[in-house]
């Protein structure tokens, strides 16, 4: 089966982020979105450990241990950046000032519930970080994940079986098979990987799904 590559997924997310947006990119796959932001757009990146105006990774040998992102990787600060403390940083998130955040996920439900912090396993050590704040804080919450688990189950579910991070918070899901909007009338596929039919996507997804690709073409 044809699949969007991780780079293609990141590029697709980047295309949906408008000029002048304030954006938080979660740890892991979402971090790749930064490399695909169109050059003609100025997008301001926030990292919850206290920096607005985050730049790319530093040149080799120029890493500063006091200048890191939420994943504790070295980053840089752009002209126009500002530093602030943790309460101010999370006030910025919780207060709805970020236009968008992009997060990884274990599961997303048809209602937009997000599960991305804890497998719930008995021997798993839980760690939540800023995931719950991002889930409820940003105006738009985008999820990037593989469509299916390694064993072939859909990660888009009727109800999350993993512990949730936030309820009804996801607005759009980017997978290796499709882009799906979470709407008041249910899930709507707005983009499908070339070669995959809507019917096949719906079957693989396993929950009610509308075809928004033809509507989009007609519009």
């Amino acid at each position: 089966m044809n699949r969007f590559s991780r780079e293609q997924m990141a590029a697709r997310v980047a295309r949906d982020i408008p000029n002048a947006a304030y954006v938080n990119l979660g740890i892991g796959l979402p971090t790749m979105v930064a490399n695909h932001l169109p050059k003609d757009r100025e997008v301001i990146l926030h990292t919850e450990n206290g920096l607005l105006g985050m730049g790319p990774a530093p040149a080799p040998g120029e890493a500063d241990p006091d200048l890191i992102n939420a994943g504790k990787q070295p980053v840089t600060a752009l002209p126009g950046a500002s530093y602030f403390h943790h309460a101010d940083s999370f006030a910025m998130m919780r207060g709805g000032h970020l236009d968008c955040c992009v997060l990884g996920a274990f599961q997303v439900s048809v209602a937009g519930d997000l599960a991305n912090w804890h497998t719930g396993g008995k021997d798993a050590i839980p760690a939540v970080g800023g995931a719950m704040d991002l889930a409820i804080g940003a105006r738009s919450v985008y999820v990037m994940m593989e469509h299916q688990t390694k064993s072939g189950e859909s990660k888009i579910v009727a109800d999350c079986t993993y512990p949730v991070t936030g309820l009804a918070c996801v607005n759009r899901i980017y997978t290796d098979l499709a882009v799906i909007d979470v709407t008041p009338v249910g899930l709507v596929a707005i983009d499908i990987v070339p070669g995959l039919s809507f019917a096949e996507l719906a079957r693989l997804t396993g929950v009610p799904l509308r075809d928004g690709t033809t509507v989009a073409d007609a519009a």
């Binding site: 000029n19 301001i44 500002s82 006030a91 000032h97």
Partner: protein, 233 residues
């Protein structure tokens, strides 16, 4: 490219509508965005709810807005001052509504709006007239009052310097309500003495990150002083 700089005070306030809630920075006249208030008077919006620490001084700025009968209600901590005669007359005539809030609760309620806090328990005001009818709770043996955020449609504030992203630094005690009002309003408009190039403000010393600011207008210090004789001529 991001450019929040607008060409005039008139343009900055052009969409402030009748019935809007408008926060206005300043403690007395320190930090009061007088030119933006003048533009708001010219704009003509009516039935405004104003949030400010005071209720106007003398006959300029906020007092002039009140005098022009544009304000339905004022939310503040300290309306009565030696030079608050405009407010005093309107209040005594029953022509303006007053919500009096202890200054720290006013600041914290504004901060809560910007910070996404739904409500908070504060010890300030417990057992007083200003907490009448409000929910209270004993926490760890101490009395608290539940207070709710104050959101706004617009904030008009004054800062020292700003850049095209909306980053701001302030000057001395003129900082006061500016940073929290910017975060509490859907649209925050800052008048600054000087617009500087992006990157000129020290990122360690930026007080208001640009994310909180939608519009920046440069009003050099000399303008007002120089304009006065001109206007009289």
């Amino acid at each position: 490219m991001i450019n929040k700089i607008v060409p005039s005070a008139a343009a900055a306030v052009a969409d402030i509508h009748d019935g809007a809630t408008v926060m206005i920075g300043g403690f007395g006249t320190a930090g009061m965005p007088s030119e933006l208030i003048d533009a708001l008077i010219d704009r003509g919006a009516r039935e405004l709810t104003i949030v400010n620490n005071n209720a106007g001084n003398g006959d300029i700025g906020l007092a002039a807005l009140l005098k022009a009968r544009r304000v339905r209600k004022i939310v503040c901590s300290f309306p009565r001052q030696t030079d608050s005669h405009v407010f005093d007359a309107l209040y005594r005539a029953g022509e303006i509504e007053l919500e009096l809030v202890p200054q720290g609760n006013l600041a914290e309620r504004i901060r809560a709006a910007g910070a996404g806090i739904g409500a908070f328990f504060t010890p300030t005001g417990f057992g007083t007239l200003l907490a009448d009818g409000k929910e209270t709770r004993v926490i760890d043996g101490r009395n608290f009052v539940l207070e709710f955020p104050i959101h706004a449609d617009f904030a008009l504030i004054k800062a020292l310097r700003g850049d095209r992203w909306g980053n701001l630094v302030y000057r001395k005690t003129a900082r006061n309500f500016g940073p929290i009002m910017a975060a509490a309003a859907k649209c925050a408009i800052a008048q600054v003495r000087e617009i500087v190039n992006l990157g000129d403000l020290d990122p360690e010393a930026v007080v208001t990150p640009g994310i909180y600011i939608q519009r920046v207008i440069e009003i050099p210090l000399a303008t007002r002083v120089a304009a006065a004789p001109g206007a009289a001529a």
